[in-house]
Amino acid sequence: MPPIALVLPVALPLAAGAAAVLANRLGDTACRAIAAAGVWGAAAAVLGLWLPLRSTLEISLGTLGFGVTLGLRIDAVEVAFSLAIALPVAVLLTVQRREWRESAVIALATAAALLAVEAADVVLTSVAGCTAATLVVIALGIEQLDAPRPRWAILIAAWLALAWAGVQLQVGGGTAGYAVVPVSALTTPVFVLIAFAAVVGSGLYPWRGWASELWSRESLRTAAPAVTLLQPLGLYLLFRTYEMGNGHYPQAVLNIAVAAWGVLVAFAAAVRAQAAPTRRAYIAEVLPSLAGFAFLFAAVGSKLGLVAALIVLASGSLLVISLPLVAGRSGAPALLVTSAGVGVPAGLAFGGLLIGLVAAFETGGAIGLIGLAGVATWLLAAAAAARSIRLPSGWTGTVADSRPVLAAALAAVALVAGPALGVVYAAGFAIAGLVLPSSGAAPALTTVATVSTVLPAAVLLGPLLVISALALGFSRPMPATPRAELSPPLFMLAGARRLYRGWAMVRSVSMPDQYRSMFNARALEGAVAAGRPVLWLAAVLALCIAVTR
């Protein structure tokens, strides 16, 4: 395979997006097929390039002109994140009808997101990430302009922060290449900028951010690809930071801070989920909750934590396809998707959450306490999921885009994957080994061995799964009769109302009329733009005094 083939994962969706634009006269379906083919091709290219050698492949295509070398790199981490981005987008492009503009822009955004994870340099990642964010915002705008979407400024701020971190690495260490940056260059300020980019770029806040609000759009056609394209990039940055720091963040307290933020995000999402008035409002909180857990696990600082984060990412990728496809539907498909999302035994999410929390406890100290909060959050999410089963759908838009059978099938895959956790863990172990090198034997394929325990994935979860399948098949189905009364929120967070009221007050603050003239933008503009010589002379005089003092 020639090294230039490394451009394929980016070039294919890029070309597909361009082709979809050019072929728009052929109709929406043809353009969607072209775009989907491009994204499927990208996923295939990633696998095709990596599987034969299963080692890092790099290529440098020269300098771009702003201190960045167009260097591409395919390694196990890149493969994992590329697949987590490309596969859900490919499936959604394949099964959901959409306008040719949306298909084209989503394909282009996928190319940009894939470039962000294939880039060998922090600055190039920031450029590609910002491009992906821009295209995602445009795609959301094309679908419905007045519907909730990420604030452009916030997304650009995130990627500018990453760019700044990159140039700081270049200035401090001479390079911003993930693999070659000196450990000493990864200072605390640089890490803070990277963490800011990771958090803001993924929209993961303890309050209701765009990652949740996107799911309240009339149609979820573009919301799901938007989340798929942007959210994994934040986690990706946390992974690569380990590589830059030779397996460490600059200070242990930074691990604690990121882990605490992650659990706070997951907890807040679970709190909102348990108070959701409709099932639709509930599903808006499923992915932010999982993403919060992924951040927590990635920040634990152990290989086990990174593997857990990858497993949660994988289950999130399955869910991000299932959630829009089951939108507006109830019954078994909704129940399956909800179960897969909350991590019931013995599914993939269950395994990921379990391994991640074990990693937190085995790290001990403050991270152990955060792990304790993580377990409580998991159970809170379980309560919210249980409550959501009988909530009203809350769906007002068309359900034509939904594919309940496919959604249920994907959720079922996530639920029965538990016995294969050992295999998934072994793969994740190999991936995490790239950014967190450690001398350890390759794990067995049937168990997950941690420092203090061994999870017999195949021999415990396998039989459990068979027994569950038989028992549930034999059991009396859930009575379809509606609940006697509407289920209220399980609890109201103390002080939440006051907080919202305070925020509303802050937002409603305005300048008293009698002082408006002091801050009148028009008057200020008039004063500056009138071309008054006095102002000019005063400015020159002031500058002369300033420089001669």
């Binding site: 035994p345 159970l379 309560a383 009988r390 061994v454 195949a458 609940r483």
Partner: protein, 269 residues
């Protein structure tokens, strides 16, 4: 491969027979009957009918058997190294909400139930932070003086949380206003899991011999009896008292336990 099959068989036995499904069903029905007799609440024995089980009971049973195989019951076919307290906590935690998901009736005071469940999680996992181990029998074996206060306080908190978790308190769900409620099968299925986990976490592990079995059974029975007595006491005092106790006494106490955990961490580092 043979080893794998043998291991799978032993785990299946653990799940279905001992200490799994069969054990929790038989002993759980016995304990639940005792509670029914003491509380004079629901029917004392279950009305056996040849019918497909409710999905709620199936789900609770599956989760309870997953939890109970993580305990340190003597002769547990699951090797000690393969037991994990988080699995037990999560499985039992899910049982509390299976009812909300799969039953047409609401759970009584779910908000307070959530708080109590969080306290219970603290009681189970708080002592696991400092030893940095999740093996139940390792936690049970912790006798380091520096860690004993946390362990004792957590054990007491665990016992305090059991009545509401098993719904032995007099707070009935809004839709459940029957004069004589039916035998509570769901509760019967989780009695043993909760009590066995208590016996595993807060007492040294018992050996795989007759004495060990007797001691472990005694601990489980003791935990069950204490819980029944506490439940009966709560029922006698009434709903308001129970709500007040758990809202105003147990929650602050759990904060004290948390402070103890944090203090222990700080002292030992």
């Amino acid at each position: 491969m043979t080893q794998l099959i043998a291991s799978a068989i032993s785990h299946t036995i653990a799940l279905l027979l001992y200490p799994g499904l069969a054990t929790i069903v038989l002993l759980g029905i016995a304990v639940e009957s005792l509670w029914s007799a003491v509380s004079r609440g629901s029917e004392i024995v279950p009305a056996f009918r040849v019918a497909r089980p409710q999905i709620l009971h199936v789900a609770v049973a599956l989760l309870a058997m997953l939890a109970v195989v993580q305990t340190g019951a003597p002769f547990n076919p699951v090797p000690p190294a393969e037991r994990n307290v988080i699995i037990a906590v999560v499985a039992l935690g899910f049982t509390a909400w299976a009812e909300l998901a799969l039953d047409t009736e609401l759970v009584a005071t779910p908000g307070l139930m959530l708080v109590i469940q969080a306290c219970w999680v603290l009681a189970v996992l708080g002592p696991a932070i400092e030893p940095q181990s999740l093996r139940p029998q390792v936690l049970g074996n912790v006798l380091v003086p520096a860690l004993l206060p946390v362990k004792v306080a957590s054990g007491f908190l665990y016992l305090l949380c059991l009545p509401p978790l098993l719904r032995l308190w007099p707070l009935a769900p809004p839709a459940d206003r029957r004069a004589r409620p039916r035998f509570n099968t769901a509760r019967a299925l989780v009695w043993i899991a909760y009590c066995a986990l208590f016996a595993t976490l807060f007492f040294p592990p018992q050996g795989d011999d007759a004495g060990g079995v007797a001691r472990f059974a005694g601990l489980v029975a003791g935990a069950a009896l204490v819980t029944i007595l506490a439940g009966a006491l709560l029922s006698r005092r009434g709903a308001e008292h129970a709500r007040g106790l758990y809202a105003r006494a147990v929650t602050p106490y759990s904060l004290l336990v948390l402070a103890l955990v944090v203090g222990t961490l700080i002292i030992n580092h």
